[in-house]
C-alpha cells in the first residue's frame, strides 16, 4: 500500500471528522491533491469513514470533476455550451488541441495537462470561456488559447497566467479573476444600495412567526424557476417537528445560459448571507449551507473570508446581533460538476456526501431534508430578496412588478445581442422591450429559462416574463437569424443526456431516443411519422420522469416542434407513395454489396 497516499487520505478524513456525510469534501480535496481518487484511495476512504468502498466509488463516478484515473496537474475544461459554440469555441478548442498536441479527453505525455470539455460554466456573457483548474478564463480566442498553453508549459500553475483583472470584487485579492460582472441594469431590489445588517436587525425585532408573515405578505415566490411561495415553504419547515433544522442555499446555477448568481455571489454576498440568517431565525434553524457549484470554486476563498468578517461583526455566530438564544452559522459545500444537483433534493443528497440523485417525495425537504431534518432550500436570488423585504417591508416589495408576480427578476442575457450581461427588471417585461434593451436586432428565437424552459419564435415576442406567462429562472439566450435552431436543439439534448442522473427510466433512456430521432430528421432521413414519435415520446418522458430534470428535458424538442414546426417539416422526406420508408435500403445493403463485390440487382 502506498504510504504517502495513506497519510494523505487519513489527514483529509481526519480534517472532515471521519464523517461519511462529508465524503464530498474528502474526495474533492483528494482529487485536488492527488489528481484522482484512485481505487486504492477509495478503499482507504471507506475504511476511514466506515463506508463501503463501492459507495465511495458511486460518489466519485457521479461527478464530472472527480475521476478514478489520474488527470494532469492542470485540467483545462473548455466550455462547449451552445452560446460558447456561437462565439467560436470550436476554433478555440482546436487551438488548444493543436498547441497541446492532444485531443479532447486526453492528457499530455508528461502527465501535466489534461484537456476536456464541460457544459455551461456560467460565463455566457463573456464566451468562449474555459476553466483551468479552479481559474476561469473568458473571451477566449485562438491566440489567447495558444498563449495560455505556452504559459502553462513554462509553469503549470494557472494562477500565474497573466490576465487583466475584472471589475468589482473580481479584482479582489482572494478572487483575482478576469471575470467581468457585466451588470447592465440595476433595479430597485437586488442592485440598489442598501444598509448592511438593516434587514436582519428588523427581523430580529420581530417574532419568528411574524417574519414568516411578512414574507408571506410580500408574495415572494422562489426565483430558481419553480416559483413556489417562499413564505409557505418556511411555514412548513417552521411547523415541522425537529430540534435541528437547516437553511440550504442553492448556488448551483447550472441551467445553460444562466450566470446571475455568479454576479450576486461576487457583489451581493452580504444580502445572501443575511437572507440565510433571517431564514434561520424564522424557521428555527441554527445552521446554513451554501451549495456552491464546482465551476464557481474560484469564489470560495473570497466567500469564506466574507463569512469570517460577518462572524467578527456578530452577524453570524452565537447570539447573533445580541439576540439571546439565536445562534446561526453558514458553511460552504462545494459541488463537483453535476447539473442535476441544482434540483433541491439532489442538492441535499450531494450535501450529505452521496451521489447527486434526487430523492423520492414525499417527504418534502421542509419536513425531512438535509440529514433527515426539516430544511428550507432557497435560491441565491430568493434569499437575497428576503433581506431587502425585511429592510423595506412587504408593501414596498409588492409595489414593484405586477399584481400576481411581485418584485424584480434578474435575468442572465446572452447570445446574439450587443449587450450581454445581468439585468434586473421589474417582473412583467415584454420580450420585445427586452430585446431592444439588450440591443438584439434580427432575433429569430429566444430561449426563455434555459433548455429546460422554452424556445419561442418572433410571433411570441409580445409575451411577458412573469409567473403567469413566461416563468423563468432567468436564463435568456437570443438566437439571431443566422442560427440553425435544430442544431441548437440537438446540442441541448446532448446536455441533458450528459447531465441526467440515470435514476429513472424515462429520463435516462428517453432523452437518448429523442436525440437519436431528432438526428435522423436533421440528417434528412426523417419521415412524417417521426414528428409524432418525438411528440409522444417527449410527452411520456415529461409525464413519468421522477424529477424536474426529466420533466423538462424534452422541452427543447417539444417547444420547437410547436414554435418552429416548419423547420422540421422542411427536412422530412417527401412521400413518393403511401409508403413511408423507415430506412435507407441502399445504405443497409452496403456491407453485403462489399462482400459480394457487386451492386444489388434490385436496388
Amino acid at each position: 500500500m502506498d504510504n504517502k497516499l495513506e497519510q494523505a487520505v487519513k489527514q483529509i478524513c481526519d480534517e472532515c471528522g471521519n464523517d461519511r456525510t462529508r465524503i464530498m469534501d474528502i474526495v474533492i480535496a483528494l482529487q485536488k491533491s492527488q489528481g484522482c481518487v484512485s481505487s486504492q484511495a477509495m478503499d482507504l476512504i471507506a475504511k476511514q469513514v466506515n463506508a463501503h468502498r463501492v459507495e465511495v466509488e458511486g460518489v466519485v463516478s457521479f461527478y464530472a470533476f472527480l475521476s478514478k484515473d489520474p488527470k494532469g496537474k492542470v485540467v483545462i475544461r473548455v466550455c462547449t455550451d451552445v452560446v460558447d459554440r456561437m462565439k467560436g469555441v470550436n476554433e478555440v478548442g482546436q487551438a488548444f488541441q493543436a498547441e497541446l498536441g492532444i485531443g479532447l479527453g486526453e492528457t499530455t505525455e508528461d502527465g501535466n495537462i489534461t484537456l476536456e470539455h464541460t457544459p455551461c460554466i456560467g460565463m455566457c456573457d463573456q464566451a468562449p470561456a474555459a476553466l483551468i483548474n479552479d481559474e476561469v478564463f473568458t473571451n477566449l480566442s485562438e491566440d489567447k488559447a495558444k498563449a495560455i498553453v505556452q504559459a502553462l508549459k513554462k509553469d503549470a500553475d494557472p494562477k500565474k497566467i497573466s490576465i487583466e483583472l475584472g471589475d468589482g470584487n473580481n479584482a479582489n485579492e482572494l478572487v483575482k479573476s478576469e471575470v467581468k460582472n457585466n451588470i447592465c441594469k440595476k433595479g430597485e431590489i437586488i442592485f440598489a444600495d442598501n444598509e448592511s445588517g438593516a434587514g436582519l436587525k428588523k427581523a430580529l425585532e420581530l417574532a419568528p412567526a411574524d417574519v414568516i408573515k411578512e414574507i408571506k405578505e410580500s408574495k415572494l415566490r422562489g426565483r430558481g424557476g419553480a416559483g413556489f411561495p417562499t413564505g409557505l415553504k418556511w411555514d412548513f419547515a417552521s411547523k415541522a417537528e425537529g430540534d435541528q433544522k437547516y437553511v440550504l442555499c442553492n448556488a448551483d446555477e447550472g441551467e445553460p445560459g444562466t450566470f446571475k448568481d455568479r454576479v450576486l455571489l461576487t457583489e451581493r454576498y452580504d444580502l445572501l448571507f443575511e437572507g440565510m440568517t433571517i431564514t434561520g431565525y424564522a424557521i428555527g434553524a441554527n445552521a446554513g449551507v451554501i451549495y456552491l457549484r464546482g465551476e464557481y470554486a474560484y469564489l470560495r476563498a473570497f466567500l469564506e473570508n466574507k463569512l469570517v468578517e460577518r462572524r467578527d461583526k456578530n452577524l453570524l455566530g452565537k447570539n447573533v446581533l445580541g439576540k439571546d438564544g439565536f445562534d446561526f452559522d453558514i458553511r460552504i459545500q462545494m459541488g463537483a460538476g453535476a447539473y442535476v444537483c441544482g434540483e433541491e433534493t439532489a442538492l441535499i443528497s450531494s450535501c450529505e456526501g452521496m451521489r447527486g440523485d434526487p430523492k423520492n417525495r414525499p417527504p418534502f425537504p421542509a419536513q425531512k431534508g438535509y440529514l433527515g431534518c426539516p430544511t428550507v432550500v432557497n435560491n441565491v436570488e430568493t434569499l437575497s430578496i428576503v433581506t431587502r423585504i425585511m429592510e423595506k417591508g412587504a408593501a414596498w416589495f409588492t409595489g414593484i412588478g405586477t399584481e400576481a408576480s411581485a418584485g424584480t427578476k434578474i435575468l442572465s442575457i446572452s447570445g446574439d445581442c450587443e449587450a450581454p450581461g445581468v439585468y434586473e427588471f421589474p417582473i412583467g417585461i415584454k420580450i420585445e422591450d427586452l430585446l431592444k434593451e439588450v440591443k438584439a436586432e434580427n432575433a429569430q428565437a429566444v430561449l426563455i429559462g434555459g433548455p429546460a424552459g422554452q424556445i419561442i419564435s418572433a410571433t411570441e415576442f409580445n409575451r411577458y416574463i412573469c409567473f403567469d406567462d413566461l416563468a423563468t429562472g432567468g436564463a435568456i439566450v437570443i438566437f439571431g437569424a443566422q442560427r440553425n435552431i435544430l442544431e441548437i436543439v440537438n446540442e441541448y439534448m446532448d446536455f441533458f443526456i450528459e447531465e441526467n442522473c440515470g435514476y429513472c427510466t424515462p429520463c435516462r433512456v428517453g432523452n437518448v431516443l429523442l436525440k437519436q430521432r431528432l438526428e435522423k430528421i436533421i440528417s434528412g432521413k426523417g419521415e412524417k411519422a417521426d414528428l409524432d414519435y418525438l411528440q409522444d415520446l417527449g410527452d411520456s418522458v415529461i409525464l413519468t420522469s421522477r424529477c424536474g430534470l426529466g420533466q423538462t428535458s424534452p422541452n427543447p424538442i417539444l417547444t420547437t416542434l410547436k414554435n418552429f414546426r416548419s423547420l422540421y417539416e422542411g427536412l422530412i422526406k417527401v412521400e413518393k407513395d403511401i409508403m413511408e420508408p423507415t430506412f435507407d435500403v441502399k445504405a443497409a445493403l452496403n456491407d453485403a454489396e462489399t462482400v459480394a463485390e457487386r451492386q444489388s440487382v434490385i436496388y
Partner: protein, 238 residues
Amino acid sequence: MEKTVKFTIDGVEITAKAGQTIMQAADEAGIYIPRLCYMNELKPHGSCRVCTVMVNGNPQAACTQPVAEGTVVKSETEKIQASRRDIVDMLFVEGNHFCMVCEKSGNCELQAMAYRLGICAPKYPYLFPKLDVDGSHPDIFIDRNRCILCGRCVEASQDIDGKGVFEFVGRGQEKRVAVNAEAKLADTNMEVTDKAADVCPVGAIIKKRVGFAVPVGERLYDKEPIGSDIERKKNGKT
C-alpha cells in the same frame, strides 16, 4: 383503532390505512398497478416509473405516494398504459435482452410485464450497449446486459443482508450496478443465501446450476399474467 383513509382508483372506492402508499393499498384491495422496481419487502425505489398513476390529475409513482383522503387515482387510462408501454420498451432497448436463450424466461418480470401490457416487440430502436458479465463467483452470475437498474439488489444487500455488496456507479447512460470490490463479485462477501441473490426481477443476478430446475412452460408467468396473485384477492372477495 387505526386511522383509515378513503380514496378511489379508477372509480373503485378503497379504504386504506393511513400512512400506506397507493401501491400497498391497491395490492390489499386486489387492484394490480403494474410495477418493476418495487418489491414488497424493500424500501420503494421509485426508479422504473412503470407504476406511474394520476393522483388528482398529477403524475406520481404509486409505490412512493402516500394515500390521502378523497384523492382520485387513475391507473388504467389509455394515456398511462401507453406511457407504461413506453417505459418497458425503453428498458428493453437500453439493455441486451434475449428472452429466447435467457434462463430467466418465464420467471422474468420484465418479460411478463411486456406481455401483460401487450408488447410483442419494442417500438424503439435497440441501443446495443456494450455491457459486461461477471462469472467470478462460485455460485452467482452477474449479467449486466439484462440489468434494468431497479436497485433491488442494492437495497436488499444493504438493508436485509447488512452487507452493502452492490451500489450504483456512473450516471445517466453510464449508470451501472457495481460490486463492493475492485471489480469482481468473487472478491466480495456475497453468499448465495443472501437476500440480494433472490430479488433480481430479470436475469441480471442469477444462481448457478439451478437455471433450468423448473422447465420452461411450467414457470411463474407461463401460466398466468404477472399480477394475477394480487388480482385474485379481489376476485376472491366478490
